[in-house]
């Protein structure tokens, strides 16, 4: 079950090597994204697209807000 984390915990984990994944539409990613984040829009998440991520490292997903 995925765990929810806050901003400071997220920053600490990224500094320790976690991967950041933005799942918003590509246009929104192009305008603004968190430093170092990778873009895979939610509808495009599948076995092929996630090959850009490393399975043995933590992944932190985010979108715009809690919606």
């Amino acid at each position: 079950m995925p765990s929810e984390i806050g901003r400071e915990e997220m920053r600490r984990m990224v500094a320790d090597g976690a991967q950041l994944l933005e799942v918003l539409p590509a246009e929104e990613y192009a305008e603004d994204h968190l430093p170092g984040a990778i873009s895979i829009p939610l509808p495009h998440i599948d076995a092929e697209s996630v090959k850009v991520l490393e399975k043995d490292r933590a992944v932190i997903t985010y979108c715009w807000d809690v919606a």
Partner: protein, 161 residues
Amino acid sequence: MSPRAAWRLETLGFAEVYEYKVGKLDWLAAGLPTEGTNAEKPRAGAIARKDVPTCHLDERLSEVQDRTQRAGWDVAVVVNEERVVFGLLRARELGGDGEQLVSQAMRPGPSTFRPYVLAEEMAKIMVDHRRETAPITTSDGRLVGLLLQKDVVEAVGRKST
């Protein structure tokens, strides 16, 4: 959206998945840097004047008048000890009876804007609605600074009202 993505990743074999639930909005609202085409554009939080005078509800207006004048301002932002914005004292209110309390003289509940709003959007809002000032606050209402129309217009090269 983000929870569904996190769950989906688990089905695809990712063992350690987390969700930054409050997301990009929280990051931007905190004024933290981003990457992307908007990253270098000026934003409200960067242009807002951080040295705007502040005062508290229980102060006498005369004290705020003196302090504001000495600082070269004709506006003050009413905040609490946590810097949460309660109101504004503009030139008109500051010119009132000095014996009044700030709570009696202020314009309560001003509209506030977030620091991540692009300067070009703020300039349009402030010019179109003839707003000379706009308090910039974090999403929980804490004062970041006061944005002046002349500053934001200058930042984006628009004509002021």
